[in-house]
């Protein structure tokens, strides 16, 4: 599965996304993402932090080309996905998957969750006929559920369970990159921990890369190897996680770090350590 090519798995160069302007180059659109460049190594996690509206999710969607870029390029495994035809793009998307913030609405309410996962496998041509039930059960166990869950409808599951299903769906096609768009921010803290642990375990086992988008610094710290800080569409600071968080260079990063609420008596709210 590992097509090892030299260079990073994901390479984003000068990404620009302007909303509300036509291709004709009118300048009055809203600049959601302004010349952002970064890359992600295989098996690593790039954490993208920033406040609401800073363009984090836009980058996540642009990486999968769920939205068209205004300019710049996104390369995965060296392939520029901006140039692919619709058909090639559909194939390329199996290399990269996405887990969304809201687990309730990211699954079709009328389809049993097992079928949802099976369909993901079928789309990428992974299931022929035999053995896919075994594979499905294995996946469900892997994400901490039981095979009986396959016959449930989304409205019968809790948020955390649904997010596990969404992760199982993403992992079912053995992607090399998963975009995690605030995967835990709709969940309560205890469930959050379980999900983060699951993601970490999956990463270790499958050597998958994550683009982890969140506004929660503690969570990003726990997950990321490299962190990028977004502000108003610009990537203001990038660097190794400890470096950015312990020794922030940019004003905005400092501001963001001091904005983390602290409980009285707690030295720092960043105590949220990597899940064991």
């Amino acid at each position: 599965m590992n097509r090892s090519k030299a260079g990073p798995l994901l390479d984003v160069k000068d990404l620009v996304k302007v909303y509300g302007s036509r291709r004709s180059g009118r300048q009055n659109g809203y600049v959601a993402v302004d010349t952002v460049s970064f890359d992600i190594e295989r098996g690593r996690t790039f954490g993208l932090v920033g406040e609401s509206g800073s363009g984090k999710s836009t980058i996540g969607r642009a990486v999968l080309r769920l939205i068209e870029l205004t300019s710049g390029e996104v390369r995965i495994n060296g392939t520029n996905i901006g140039r692919l035809s619709t058909r090639e793009l559909r194939r390329a998307r199996q290399e990269m998957q996405m887990v969304f913030q809201d687990p309730y609405s990211s699954l079709n309410p009328r389809v049993r969750v097992g079928s949802t996962i099976r369909e993901a496998m079928r789309i990428c041509g992974k299931t022929r006929t035999s053995g896919h039930n075994g594979e499905l059960n294995e996946l469900l166990l892997k994400v901490g559920l039981t095979p009986e869950f396959a016959n449930r409808y989304p409205h019968e599951l809790s948020g955390g369970q649904l997010q596990r299903i969404a992760i199982a769906r993403a992992m079912s096609v053995s992607p090399s990159l998963v975009v995690l768009d605030e995967p835990t921010s709709a969940l309560d803290v205890s469930v959050q921990k379980g999900i983060l642990k699951l993601l970490t375990d999956i990463q270790i086992e499958h050597n998958v890369s994550y683009l982890f988008i969140s506004h929660d610094i503690a969570v990003v710290r726990a997950m990321s190897d490299v962190i990028g800080v977004m502000k108003a569409g610009k990537l203001v600071e990038t660097g190794a996680a400890e470096q950015v968080l312990d020794n922030p260079q940019h004003e905005y990063t400092k501001e963001l770090l001091t904005a983390v609420p602290k409980l009285p008596g707690e030295s720092a709210a960043l105590a949220f350590s990597a899940p064991e």
């Binding site: 990269m96 699954l107 389809v111 369909e119 369970q161 699951l198």
Partner: protein, 312 residues
């Protein structure tokens, strides 16, 4: 891999299994459904089971008993040709039922197809919707009359005309649902999975439009029965001697003062039929909408009734 995750905190407990089950369960329990079903059974017994036992041919003419009032030999009396009104009304019921069903099914299929295309592909949207606007700009009955007049009045042509008149409404409804569902997150999730447009449309969008379609189809059913009766009454519908509720009324209107049974029985039949179909439509709608309360049901029904009977 060694995973010691907090294994999905709630265990799998048996529950009301799925949406379909819950839906049919709720549907069957609706008072509207029960009333409708009772009436439907009575109607079917009256109009389909009893006639062969009584054994009158709706076409056989007997001038000696022209316009005789209801009696034990002729339950509903006879018409101006001396034909048995009971069997003619029941024949009309069957014709109406056939027209209603064919129109409802055809316009549902056609409307869904057009609506799905228009909602999903921006390019065809403008074209399809402008045509629909054009068709909807005419009063339905007028358009249907014009179509039947140009096609010639036969059962099939009446069905075709009604489908043309009623399809735009369905197309419009489905389009609006498709437009809304298209923006849902789970559709974007499917796209990020690499699903093709066709798969997304057929497997994920259309099934989610089914509920509104079902309700609409029931009302279209009732509508087409009414419009057909109106067409036949105006002489532009099903051509005699084939009985239809409308053309019996048409014949009856000249003799209304002397032989009112020619108007009363087919009218009652028409009213009950439309009521039954509307009851079913309401039951579907309520079963799909868990928030629908009794009180709102009566309010809504009232407006539906008035609407049904006044737009023809």
């Amino acid at each position: 891999m060694t995973l010691k995750l907090n294994p999905a905190s709630t265990p799998v407990e048996p529950r009301a299994q799925n949406r379909q089950l819950t839906f049919s369960y709720r549907f069957l329990r609706r008072p509207a459904f029960r009333v409708g079903a009772t009436l439907a059974v009575l109607l079917l017994v009256l109009a389909v089971v009893i006639p062969p036992i009584v054994g009158y041919d709706p076409y056989s003419v007997d001038p000696s008993v022209r316009l005789s009032p209801p009696s034990f030999t002729h339950l509903y009396g006879t018409d101006d040709f001396g034909r048995d009104l009971f069997s003619r009304t029941n024949g009309g019921f069957q014709v109406s039922l056939m027209i209603g069903a064919s129109v409802a099914i055809s316009s549902a299929i056609l409307g869904t197809l057009l609506g799905a295309l228009a909602g999903y592909y921006r390019a065809v949207d403008a074209i399809i919707m402008r045509i629909c606007d054009g068709l909807m700009a005419f009063p339905g009955i007028l358009l249907a009359m014009a179509l039947v007049a140009s096609l010639g009045s036969s059962l099939v042509n009446v069905i075709i005309a009604l489908v043309i008149v009623l399809t735009p409404g369905i197309a419009r409804l489905i389009r609006s649902r498709v437009l809304a569902i298209k923006e849902e997150l789970f559709i974007e999730a499917m796209r990020s999975q690499g699903a093709s447009s066709l798969r997304i449309l057929l497997r994920h969008i259309l099934p989610n439009t089914l509920n509104v379609l079902l309700v609409q189809v029931a009302y279209i059913f009732a509508d087409s029965i009414m419009v057909e009766a109106a067409l036949s009454f105006l002489g532009a519908g099903v051509a005699p001697p084939t009985p239809s509720l409308g053309n019996i009324l048409y014949d009856g209107k000249q003799v209304f003062l002397t032989s009112p049974w020619m108007v009363i029985f087919p009218s009652l039949m028409l009213i009950v039929m439309v009521m039954v179909v509307n009851f079913f439509g309401d039951a579907v709608r309520e079963a799909l909408d868990p928030k629908a309360s009794r009180r709102r049901w009566t309010q809504r029904s009232k407006s539906v009734w008035l609407g049904r009977f006044s737009n023809v």
